[in-house]
């Protein structure tokens, strides 16, 4: 699709943030998300093309402004919801429980 991800040749995307000391993972959630994607792929939730196709359906502004691994979460959720492994309601309930320290 002619989505925002198709970036080759566009102008106006801003300066390159070289950040030479950057760590491989900036936060623990990135570590967990990285591992989850690979395992979900290996476990047959999606093929690599399906994985990328889902990311391409993010809202353009969100795609550009979010952290990289948020793209992976979006795609993982897309496929888990499609195959019935997860629902939005479950995720939100769990988030509420976790933020209350209940789990």
């Amino acid at each position: 699709m002619n989505g925002i991800h198709d970036l080759g040749g566009r102008h106006g995307m801003g300066p390159i943030d070289i950040d030479p000391e950057q760590p491989i993972f900036h936060a623990d959630w990135e570590r967990r998300m990285f591992g989850m994607f690979i395992l979900a792929f290996a476990g047959g939730h999606f093929n690599i093309d399906q994985f990328r196709a889902a990311i391409e359906k993010m809202k353009p502004a969100e795609y550009l402004e979010s952290d990289y691994y948020e793209h992976w979460l979006y795609s993982l959720e897309t496929w888990c919801k499609a195959n019935g492994s997860l629902t939005d309601e479950e995720i939100e309930n769990r988030m509420r429980k976790l933020s209350k320290g209940a789990v």
């Binding site: 198709d6 080759g8 995307m13 959630w29 967990r32 990285f34 989850m36 959720e77 995720i91």
Partner: protein, 204 residues
């Protein structure tokens, strides 16, 4: 985005990832120990030091270099660097007349077994958009000026081939063994936004 909104998003995303992970574990779909193993491998073991060894071998052994340029996958496998996001490798050589640079304009494809995980800038919109249309400008932002007489080749990794740049061997390195040569090979020189270190000063 306001700072407050940014903070909300940051703590939100962390919470959401925790939620998703805990749900998948409970449903028997995810093994958290497997995540730990993967993270350990890519945070502590797999990295550009692998690619540096490939480059150092190519610099030291002309017949290895030939094999590397002809069939990158097989030659890199000789050193044991195989696997996820490196299953099909192409190595492109810098010469006095040609400078190579690698990008993935559509997402973030990068040769993990030889370079580890990509830096954020490689995966973000500024690099991905500009690398194909203004490679010289991009390389200059990294501190390197490519002469007009040099041909710049940009490789867009849009399929499942993964690309590695074989930088030119720096002058004054005759007599250095592979281990010493490998120390001069930077990650950025294997992406094509920099050159290897020079031996005398330890700087480019």
């Amino acid at each position: 985005m306001s700072k407050a909104h940014e903070h909300d998003n940051r703590s939100d995303i962390s919470l959401r990832v925790k939620a998703v992970e805990s749900l998948l574990i409970e449903k028997g779909l995810l093994d958290p120990a497997a995540i730990d193993k993967l993270v350990d491998a890519y945070e502590h073991k797999i990295g550009p030091h692998n690619g540096a060894r490939v480059v150092a071998r190519a610099w030291s052994d002309p017949s290895y270099k030939q094999r590397l340029l002809k069939d990158g996958t097989a030659a890199i496998a000789e050193l044991g660097f195989t696997g996820i996001q490196g299953e099909d490798m192409v190595v492109v050589e810098n010469t006095s007349g040609v400078h190579n640079m690698v990008v993935c304009t559509l997402c973030s494809c990068y040769p993990w077994p030889t370079l580890g995980l990509p830096p954020n800038w490689y995966k973000a919109a500024p690099y991905r958009s500009r690398a194909v249309i203004d490679p010289r400008g991009v390389i200059e932002e990294f501190g390197l000026k490519i002469p007009e007489s040099t041909e710049v080749r940009v490789w867009d990794s849009n399929a499942e081939l993964r690309y590695l740049v074989l930088p030119e061997r720096p002058a004054g390195t005759e007599g250095l063994d592979e281990a010493a040569l490998a120390k001069l090979v930077t990650r950025d020189s294997m992406i094509g936004v920099g050159l290897p270190l020079s031996p005398d000063r330890g700087t480019e």
